[in-house]
Amino acid sequence: MRNLTSETENRAIAALALLPSFAILLVLVALPTFSVALYSLQDVQMGEAAHPFVGFENFLWAWNYAPFWNALNNTLVWVFGSVSLEMVIGVAVALMLNRNFVGRGIARAVVFAPYLIPTVVAVLVWRYMFHDVLGVVNYFLLKAGLIETPVNWLSSPRVAMTTVIIVGVWKFFPFVVLAILGVLQAIPQDQYEAAKIDGASEWQQFWRITLPHLMPIFLLTALLRSIWTFHKFDIIYLLTGGGPVGSTTTLPVLVYQKAFADFEIGRAAALALITAFVLTLLLLLYFYLSKQVEARQ
C-alpha cells in the first residue's frame, strides 16, 4: 500500500516538474500553430473583424498563384545552393584548421567571426558592399581587373540569388566548421599513421579514413543547415526584400509579404502550412537517403 502511494506521488511530482516547459511549449508553439492552421481555412484580413470560413479556398488560391511556384523554386535553389557550398567550404576549412600552424588561434577566430556577427548588422553592411555604384565589392573587382563593368549584385534578377547565397554561405559556414572540427579532432591519429605506412596518399587518407568518420556528423549538419536555411528570412529580406522582380523571394519571404505587406493573413497562413509540408517532404527524402548511405557503410 505504501509503495503505491509513492508511485503516484512520483508521477505527480514528475508532472508538476514538466508543467512549466509544457505550458511554454503550449503557448509559444502549439497555440500559434493551431491559430495559423485555423486562419488558413478562413478569409482573414488585417484590420477586418470578421473571419468567414472559406474551407480550402486559400490553398486553391495558392495552387494557382504564380508567385507561389516561383517562391518554391527559389527556395529549393536557395537551400540547395547555400547548403552544398557551406558543407564543402566548411569541411575544407575544418581540415585546414585541424593542422597545427603558426597563428592557428587567430585563424580560428577569424573563421568564426561571421557566425558571431548579428545577422542584421552583417547583412546591411553587405548591402552597402554590393551596391553597384557605391559598393567596395565592385570597386575591388574592377581594380583587380576581374570584371570590366560593375556587376549588378542586387538589381539583376539573374545575379541576385547568387548574391544572397554568397551572404548566406559566408554567415553560416563557420557552423559547419565547428561541427566537423569537433569530429576531426576525435579521429585517432594512429589510423592516419597506419594508413601512411600502408601507402595511402593524402587524398586516399581523406577519402578512406576522414570521410567515413565524418559521414554521420556531415549528414546531420547538412540536415540541420537545410532546415534552418529553408526557414531563413532575415538575410534575404534585408538584402533584396525578395526582389528584384521576385527573383529572390523564397517561401518565408512570400509568407511575410502576404501577411504583413498585403495584410492577407488567411492566404499567408495557407502558404505557411504549405511551406511546412514541403519541408516535411524534404526531410522524409533526407531520412530515406541517409538510411541508404548508412546501409552501404
Partner: protein, 451 residues
C-alpha cells in the same frame, strides 16, 4: 509596543500613498502619444524642442514621442490598430485617410482646422471624408523637381530640358565615362509607383476615371513606361534595388547629370557633399507628350486616432497637434529640411522663404531653389487623381474619393509594372495590361468584402 507601532507605521504609509495617488489622478497628467517618421536628426531636434516648449506651456500634458522608419510606418499603424494600442497623434498618408475614417478609427478635426484658418491652407489640400476633416497636413513633398548639374550641362552646351524629348537627349548626351545621364527609381517601393504616376499623368492619362473604373491600361501609360525604359538605359544599372536613400547617394557621388527627384536631394547634399550640391540647379519638371507636366506631391498629414483603436486623451492630442502644425513651429519644421518640407499654409510659406536666406550654406540661391520646389501648380497625388482632366490649360481634379487606391499602392502594383518593363524587358503595352488586370483584381476583392 514595537509591533503595534510597526503596524501603525505601515497603515500610515499605505494611506499616504493612496492619498498621493488619488491626488495625482485628480490632477490628471495626461499622456499624449505621438508617432511620426521624420527620423532625420534636424527633424528629431525640432520635435524635441517643440515638445519641450509645448510641455512648458501645458504642464499637465506629457508627450511621448515615437519615431519609425518610412517603410515600417504603415505596418506599425495597422498592427496598433488591430491591437487597439494606437498612439493619439500619428502620421497618415492621403491614400489611407478614407479607409481609416470610414472605419471610425479617426477623430474629426474640423474645429482645429477652423482655428488655424481653413483659407490659409493651399487649395485642395484639406480633404473631407463624408463631410468631415480627419487629417491635417504638416508638410508637402514635391517629388517632381528636375535637378541638374549646371557644370556638366554648360560643358556640353546644353540648356535645361523643357520636355521629355529634350530630357532624353540631354541625358543621352551626358551619359559618358562613369557619369550616368539620369537616375530613376525601379525598386519595388512607393518611390517607383509615384514616379510612374507623375509620368502617366504628364502623358495625359490617369489610373482611374471619374466613374472609378480602372483606366491604367492606356496609351499614356504605355508612353510613360517607354520613356522610363529609355531613361533607364542611361541610368545606373542598380536602380532595381535602389531605395530613396540610394538615389540621393548616387547623385551625390557626382556620377549623375540629371535627376527628377524630391528636394531632399539638395538639403542632404549641402550637408554632406557641398562640392556636388553647389553645382546643382533646379527647374520645373519637363512637360510630357500631353503638353503638360503633372507633379506628384505627397501631403504628409497627422491624424488623431479614435478611442475605438485605443487612443485615450484625444482632446489634449488636438491641442498638441494644433501647436506643431501652425505658426512659427510649422516654419521651424519646414526649415529643418529646406526646401523639401513645403509648409501647407500660405502665410508660413512666405515666412520660410524669407528665413531661408542663410540656408544651404548661403551658396547657390536658396530663394530660387525654394521657389522652384514650392511651385505646386498642376500637381496631384494618388488619392485625388481619379478622373482628373485639363480645362483651359489647368489641371482640374474630380474631387472623388478613391477607396481602392490605397491597397493598390500598398501592394506596389505600379512599381511592379515598371519592374516588368525595366528588368524583365516586357513590352510596355503588355505590362500596362497586366497592371490594369491586377488593379482590377484588388478592386473586385475590396468590393466583395465591402458587401
Amino acid at each position: 509596543m514595537a509591533i503595534v507601532s510597526t503596524r501603525l507605521f505601515g497603515l500610515c504609509l499605505a494611506s499616504a500613498l493612496l492619498a498621493s495617488a488619488g491626488t495625482a489622478m485628480a490632477q490628471g497628467v495626461k499622456v499624449v502619444r505621438f508617432l511620426h517618421n521624420e527620423t532625420d536628426p534636424p527633424s528629431m531636434a525640432f520635435f524635441n524642442k517643440a515638445i519641450a516648449d509645448f510641455e512648458r506651456l501645458n504642464p499637465n500634458i506629457k508627450i511621448e514621442m515615437e519615431s519609425v522608419s518610412t517603410d515600417g510606418r504603415l505596418q506599425k499603424v495597422t498592427a496598433s490598430m488591430n491591437a487597439k494600442t494606437m498612439p493619439e497623434v500619428f502620421k497618415i498618408l492621403a491614400e489611407e485617410r478614407m479607409q481609416f475614417a470610414r472605419k471610425g478609427y479617426l477623430v474629426p478635426l474640423d474645429n482645429m482646422v477652423a482655428s488655424i484658418g481653413a483659407n490659409d491652407y493651399l487649395d485642395d489640400l484639406i480633404v473631407k471624408v463624408d463631410g468631415k476633416i480627419y487629417d491635417v497636413p504638416y508638410t508637402i513633398n514635391n517629388f517632381s523637381v528636375l535637378f541638374y548639374r549646371d557644370d556638366l550641362l554648360k560643358a556640353a552646351n546644353l540648356t535645361p530640358p523643357k520636355n521629355w524629348n529634350e530630357l532624353k537627349a540631354a541625358a543621352q548626351a551626358l551619359n559618358k565615362g562613369d557619369v550616368n545621364g539620369f537616375v530613376l527609381p525601379a525598386g519595388q517601393n512607393r518611390a517607383t509607383s509615384l514616379y510612374l504616376a507623375s509620368l502617366v499623368w504628364s502623358a495625359g492619362g490617369t489610373f482611374f476615371d471619374k466613374d472609378l473604373k480602372v483606366t491604367f491600361n492606356s496609351p499614356a501609360t504605355v508612353a510613360a513606361l517607354a520613356f522610363m525604359k529609355d531613361m533607364a538605359a542611361v541610368s545606373p544599372k542598380g536602380i532595381a534595388a535602389y531605395s530613396y536613400g540610394d538615389m540621393i547617394n548616387v547623385y551625390l557621388t557626382g556620377k549623375v547629370a540629371l535627376d527628377l527627384y524630391a528636394p531632399r536631394l539638395v538639403a542632404t547634399g549641402y550637408d554632406t557633399v557641398p562640392a556636388v550640391a553647389t553645382q546643382t540647379k533646379a527647374v520645373v519638371m519637363p512637360v510630357g507628350p500631353s503638353g503638360h507636366a503633372v507633379k506628384f506631391i505627397s501631403p504628409n498629414s497627422f491624424a488623431i486616432a479614435s478611442p475605438a483603436v485605443g487612443a485615450k486623451n484625444t482632446a489634449e492630442a488636438q491641442k498638441f497637434l494644433e501647436f506643431i502644425v501652425s505658426g512659427e513651429r510649422l516654419r521651424d519644421l519646414s526649415l529643418t529640411v529646406f526646401p523639401h518640407m513645403i509648409p501647407p499654409l500660405k502665410s508660413v510659406q512666405a515666412m520660410v522663404i524669407d528665413a531661408a536666406k542663410d540656408k544651404l550654406g548661403g551658396g547657390s540661391n536658396p530663394a530660387e531653389l525654394g521657389k522652384v520646389s514650392f511651385d505646386l501648380s498642376n500637381s496631384m497625388s494618388f488619392e485625388d487623381e481619379a478622373g482628373a482632366s485639363w480645362v483651359d490649360g489647368k489641371l482640374v481634379k474630380a474631387g472623388l474619393d478613391n477607396p481602392y487606391i490605397g491597397a493598390i499602392v500598398a501592394r506596389h502594383i505600379p512599381a511592379q509594372v515598371v519592374q516588368r518593363v525595366l528588368i524583365n524587358g516586357e513590352a510596355p503595352a503588355a505590362a500596362a495590361a497586366w497592371g490594369a488586370q491586377e488593379m482590377q483584381k484588388i478592386v473586385d476583392d475590396l468590393k466583395r468584402s465591402a458587401r
